[in-house]
């Protein structure tokens, strides 16, 4: 075609483009299709743009009219595209409203678990750290010296009968109690000090549902000036109230351990029956929980601490027993079974939140 474009032809063309674009937009199913339609009609090389570009060669008398028509069409297509996009989105939302299920369980990455002893030990460590105690550790393969001798339990002391010991040599043994860390801690840290030491202990006995040859204790030791029995009761009561998340009632009664004087057994009022008496507490209303006592002057001396200046108290918490109480585990053998059916149940949560 040469010469000036005919005004009528252009109107005709615009009208065709209008119909064509409107139909295509109505049939479009996606934003991408609509974007292609926009390109086809409205881009630099688009068909509506081509008409606008050709206006220069249109006779001036009809130029404004054609220009206006072309701009209207441009705007109309633009709006139609946006409207259609909005419709498509709306349809998608409606479809999702119908089909989207937010209640399916999430896909899970493999989750591991901590041993319940780790969880409860950590909880206790946190409580004691909060009370200004240092957490220390000591060897499991201990010497007679720290496990017995320095704890005022010389060879042939009848109290050695209380603990069936695994002997490795005349000197080496598998520690029977975390108390073995007492003198080590005093030697290392001096007085005053306040430490706890959780760890594995061993007694040579037959295994059944309530006996293990391998178990965990948590030993505590506080040495300072003028430490009294009243202080011991306070710390025990505070700590146990934290552990059990309730205001526990404690009582002390005499207990014999060669490394403390006086020595106590600390009982707590049974939390299950509130002291009324139930099978758990053997109908006594009390549960024996923490052997403890005032550190024997000889033990302080072994630790290089002057008993004239310092006194202190020590306690030995049965960590394994506490774990069984907290989680309602009735068979102690579960703990060393390595059986994930049991052990993976504890997750990695902090016992505080359980």
């Amino acid at each position: 075609m040469t010469g000036q474009p005919n005004g009528e032809d252009l109107k005709q063309k615009l009208s065709e483009l209008d119909q064509q674009a409107t139909a295509e937009i109505a049939e479009a199913k996606s934003d991408a299709e609509l974007d292609q339609i926009r390109v086809k009609y409205l881009s630099k090389k688009g068909e509506v743009t081509a008409i606008l570009r050709s206006l220069g060669s249109v006779s001036p008398d009809i130029r404004p009219q054609i220009g206006a028509l072309a701009n209207d069409l441009r705007n109309k297509i633009e709006e139609a595209i946006e409207r259609r996009k909005s419709e498509i989105l709306q349809q998608k939302i409606e479809m999702e409203r119908y089909a989207f299920d937010p209640t399916v369980p999430p896909t899970r990455t493999a989750t591991g678990s901590l041993h319940p002893i780790t969880i409860v030990s950590r909880e206790l460590e946190d409580i004691f750290r909060g009370m200004g105690f240092t957490v220390v550790d000591g060897p499991e393969l201990e010497t007679d010296y720290y496990n017995f001798e320095a704890l005022n339990t010389p060879k042939e002391h009848p109290a050695r009968d209380m603990q069936d010991t695994y002997w490795v040599s005349d000197i080496l043994l598998l520690r029977t109690q975390t108390s073995a860390c007492q003198v080590r801690a005093m030697e290392k840290l001096g007085a005053p000090l306040r430490i706890i030491t959780p760890g594995r202990c061993f007694r040579n006995e037959d295994i059944d549902a309530s006996h293990e040859n391998t178990f965990f204790q948590l030993e505590g030791l506080l040495v300072d000036r003028d430490v009294s029995i009243a202080n011991l009761i306070y710390v025990m009561k505070t700590m146990l109230s934290e552990v059990f998340k309730s205001d526990v009632t404690v009582r002390l009664r005499p207990g014999y351990f060669p490394f403390v004087e006086p020595g106590f057994e600390l009982d707590i009022k049974c939390l299950i029956c509130s002291g009324e008496g139930c099978p758990t507490c053997g109908r006594s209303g009390w549960v024996e929980l923490v052997p403890c006592g005032m550190v024997h002057p000889n033990v302080l001396r072994y630790g290089g601490v002057d008993p004239e200046e310092f006194s202190g108290f020590a306690f030995g918490l049965g960590l394994t027993r506490l774990v069984m109480m907290k989680y309602g585990i009735s068979d102690i053998r579960v703990l060393n079974s390595g059986d994930l059916r049991s052990l993976s149940q504890f997750g990695i949560i902090d016992a505080q939140s359980s």
């Binding site: 901590l114 109290a159 009294s228 029995i229 202080n231 390595g338 990695i348």
Partner: protein, 833 residues
């Protein structure tokens, strides 16, 4: 130990209300009462009966028919007891009466003869095991008397936890507990009834005593008594013994036991015919004196190999008893015995304990001697014995007066305390009068001292500790605190907080480190923590072909296959993995725990001279903390295998990165230099050593395929074991800060064709040699070994980051860098893919 309430009541008044409170009272202030048993309550209407006639049973030769006078009537009964005879006084349970095991005795017909009651044995009355014959009553009684009264069958027995008596020799008898109860209830303790000392001296010493080892024998009292016999004990005495768990035998033997249970002082009676002169010496001394043989036969009929250190009681140089443990068969009281030599002695507790342990013979006597007895009790017990003997056999007389050797007498101890000290230690104000009354009631003697610059509240005392408490238990002022506070009542001490100086609390790094690693392995790597035993199961180790060269063993393991302490965590974790295999397709396990081995020889010899190192055990053993992880999955594909290996490398990397802000190094494990390579579970190829900052930590391996099929079906495992004690020495890298790049950096990927056998570590070392102004870093992306590569080659893709501090790079600069890098690579024989 068992306590009879009737027995305690001989020495202190205990009303019914106190009796009810007694278990609580003793538990809270003295020793734990483990159980309370009410005895004799289920015996009703059983009476003393006299056998008035006896005839054989018409059909059964083992039975007889007896007529028994029970006061109100004469009753016929069929009786199987061989010892029944006319005139005998017996316990008889007529119809409608009750026995512990028979709720209601009924009339019966036995082989056609009417039987209207039971002639009872001791067992039927609940006072012992004797059941061979009917129990003959020797106590004063008449037909129809209630048997409960005659035999004192109604009693309450408290069982005390022996462990809480370990330090209290005085509480190993009823009298000591009576003293406690007197102190706790404020009632007087009755003085012990006993013969006067003069009575014991009424005859010359016929049997002399010589102590040849005065270190092991603190005191030896011997008294000869004649005119006695081995009749059965009175019923009430038999009841008491039976109720506290001691089998009645005959009056002489029973009385020695009775006094031991009353005073805590073991005694022994020899047949007088066998003893002319007592010598107390060790078995070694006996042998030196010419005794041939190395054994001794105790009165239980067992011939025992004797250690030379054992202390023996000898007649001249002939052993007749093991001191403090058991008498000999050669001198025991026989049914024909009419005179005895009574021993009441105090022996060295350690010596008795050693001998008893060596012989495996833990007798009631030895349990008491090893608690450190008071030598004064030896004489008191002798006087008490003579007194009680004469209560039963008034004609008993002393034929050999008291021979008493006392090389090491127990002496009272004197201690000084003051009321402020007591209150400060207790943490509560205890009035001086109360302190005084408590200690006095327990047998301590207090003398007030004038305190210098005396205050209104402070009272000072000299306290004399009675000898029965002074052998070991009460030797320090702090021991008196226990006496005062336990009677004062621990419940009366108010809890008090403690004010302390504010100072930083330093925490032990190891425990924190172990916990954080546990957290990471479980939370980020999906591993489950387990605990396994500290020793191997040798059967299992055989199954997995594992044997360590140098291990520590338990001397007394209980079960012998558990005698070896673990050097590696892997074997026990593999066992746990094998157990879990049946339940889970995929799982990951870990344990953080100790492993043990002997200290190396050279370190050992050097350290043996260092007393501290021996005391600490450092000269003898090494105990390290290890972490072991096992990844288990179903399937055997190469990809899974490499994936699992990679997970463990990630874990090792994360440990180094998160705990020490540093990296892990993975090196090829060389057979020649790495002992780990020979462990049975280590793969011949898929394995590596792990180290950080030049410190060797451990290794990662896919399980050896030769081992795998033995216990795992269709699954596979990868293993890591790291030494966390070594890791503790890896230094913490300081976090460093660099400004973020001001101009955008560009990352370029290059795929390098290298020999299949070239390890990345070697390639990385080559790349380290490249330098360029724009180079910022080079990192590994991946390795491709699939199709489309030249034979024997692989393609390693690396990402090279470049940038500039002062401008944005132009495309010419980027191209220039690429060209320079590529030609540098080409010079080193590395082409691009």
């Amino acid at each position: 130990m068992k306590l009879s309430l009737n027995w305690l009541r001989d020495h202190v008044d205990i009303d019914d209300k106190t009796a009810e409170q007694l278990p609580e009272l003793l538990t809270m202030s003295t020793a734990e009462v483990e159980s309370v048993e009410h005895l004799g309550r289920d015996i009703r209407n059983v009476v003393a009966g006299k056998v008035v006639s006896l005839s054989p049973h018409p059909t059964s030769s083992k039975l007889s028919v007896i007529q028994v006078d029970i006061g109100s009537e004469v009753v016929q009964s069929v009786c199987g007891a061989p010892n029944v005879r006319v005139g005998m006084m017996i316990p008889f349970a007529p119809c409608a009466s009750s026995l512990p095991d028979v709720e209601c005795v009924r009339a019966a017909e036995i082989d056609g003869v009417a039987s209207n009651g039971i002639a009872c044995s001791q067992r039927e009355l609940g006072i012992g095991d004797a059941h061979e014959g009917v129990f003959e009553l020797t106590d004063e009684c008449k037909p129809g008397d209630s048997i409960t009264d005659v035999l004192k069958l109604r009693d309450t027995v408290l069982e005390i936890d022996n462990k809480s008596l370990t330090h209290r020799p005085d509480l190993w008898g009823h009298y000591g507990f009576a003293r406690e109860i007197a102190a706790l209830t404020g009632r007087p303790l009755r003085p012990l009834e006993m013969s006067e000392l003069e009575g014991l001296m009424s005859a010359d010493v016929v049997v002399p005593v010589a102590v040849d080892d005065p270190e092991k024998c603190y005191r030896y009292c011997a008294l000869g008594i004649e005119g006695v016999d081995t009749r059965p004990s009175p019923g009430w005495l038999q009841t008491r013994l039976a109720y506290v768990g001691m089998r009645p035998i005959n009056f002489i033997v029973d009385l020695t036991n009775y006094i031991m249970l009353e005073l805590g002082q073991p005694m022994h009676a020899f047949d007088s015919n066998m003893i002319q002169a007592i010598r107390v010496m060790t078995f070694g001394q006996v042998k030196a004196a010419g005794y041939s043989g190395s054994t001794f036969t105790t009165l239980d009929g067992v011939e025992r190999e004797m250690p030379d250190t054992a202390l023996m009681i000898c007649n001249h140089y002939e052993p007749v008893a093991i001191a403090g443990v058991m008498g000999g068969e050669n001198s025991e009281v026989e049914p024909s015995t009419t005179a005895i030599l009574l021993e009441s002695a105090t022996f060295d507790p350690v010596s008795v304990r050693r001998t008893a342990t060596a012989l495996g013979l833990r007798t009631e006597a030895c349990m008491r001697f090893e608690k450190s007895l008071d030598t004064n009790m030896a004489l008191i017990a002798t006087r008490r014995f003579l007194y009680l003997t004469r209560q039963v056999i008034p004609t008993a007389t002393v034929y050999s007066g008291l021979a008493d050797a006392e090389p090491k007498p127990t002496r009272p101890i004197s201690l000084s305390i003051d009321s402020e000290y007591v209150s400060r230690y207790a943490g509560t104000e205890i009035p001086p009068d109360r302190i005084e009354s408590i200690l006095t009631s327990l047998g301590f003697t207090l003398k007030r001292k004038d305190a210098n610059g005396r205050s209104a509240t402070k009272v000072c005392w000299d306290v004399e500790v009675p000898t029965y408490r002074a052998t070991k238990d009460v030797t320090l002022p702090v021991d008196l605190i226990e006496e005062v506070t336990r009677v004062y009542g621990y419940g009366n001490i108010e809890p008090k907080s403690k004010a302390v100086a504010l100072s930083p609390i330093h925490q032990d790094e190891h425990i924190e480190l172990h916990y954080r690693i546990k957290q990471m392995l479980s939370a980020s790597f999906g591993m489950s923590e387990i605990h396994t035993y500290s020793w191997y199961d040798k059967d299992w180790n055989r199954e997995i072909d594992h044997k360590d060269d140098s291990v520590l063993t338990i001397a007394n393991p209980g079960i012998s296959k558990y005698d070896t302490l673990r050097r590696h965590l892997v074997p026990n974790l593999l066992a746990a993995a094998a157990r879990n295999e049946g339940y889970f397709d995929e799982f990951r396990l870990f344990e953080i725990g100790s492993v043990y081995h002997p200290a190396p020889k050279d370190a050992k010899t050097a350290a043996l001279h260092d007393e501290q190192a021996v005391r600490r055990g450092d000269a003898l053993r090494i105990e390290d903390t290890h972490v072991c992880c096992i990844v288990h999955w179903k399937g055997r594909s190469e990809k899974q295998e490499d994936g699992a290996f990679d997970i463990l490398k990630q874990a090792a990397w994360a440990v180094c990165e998160q705990m020490r802000n540093t990296t892990a190094d993975f090196e090829v494990m060389d057979e020649q230099t790495a002992p780990e390579a020979s462990l049975s579970w280590v793969h011949p190829v898929k394995r590596c050593l792990v180290s950080s900052s030049g410190i060797k930590l451990g290794y990662i391996t896919v399980i050896n395929p030769r081992l795998l099929d033995r216990f795992v079906q269709g699954a596979n495992m990868a293993i890591m074991e790291l030494n966390l004690s070594a890791f503790a020495d890896v230094p913490m890298a300081k976090p460093s800060f660099a400004e973020p790049p001001r101009y955008p950096e560009v990352s370029l990927d290059f795929s390098l064709l290298v020999d299949l056998s070239m390890r990345y570590r070697a390639l990385s070392e080559v790349l380290d040699g490249f330098s360029h102004d724009l180079l910022r870093s080079i990192s590994y992306v991946d390795t491709y070994t699939g199709a489309g590569l030249p034979q024997g080659k692989k393609s390693v893709t690396i990402a090279v980051t470049i940038g500039s501090d002062d401008h944005t790079l132009s495309s010419q600069e980027i191209d220039g860098f690429s060209n320079a890098f590529i030609s540098w690579l080409a010079d080193r024989g590395i082409s691009l893919r």
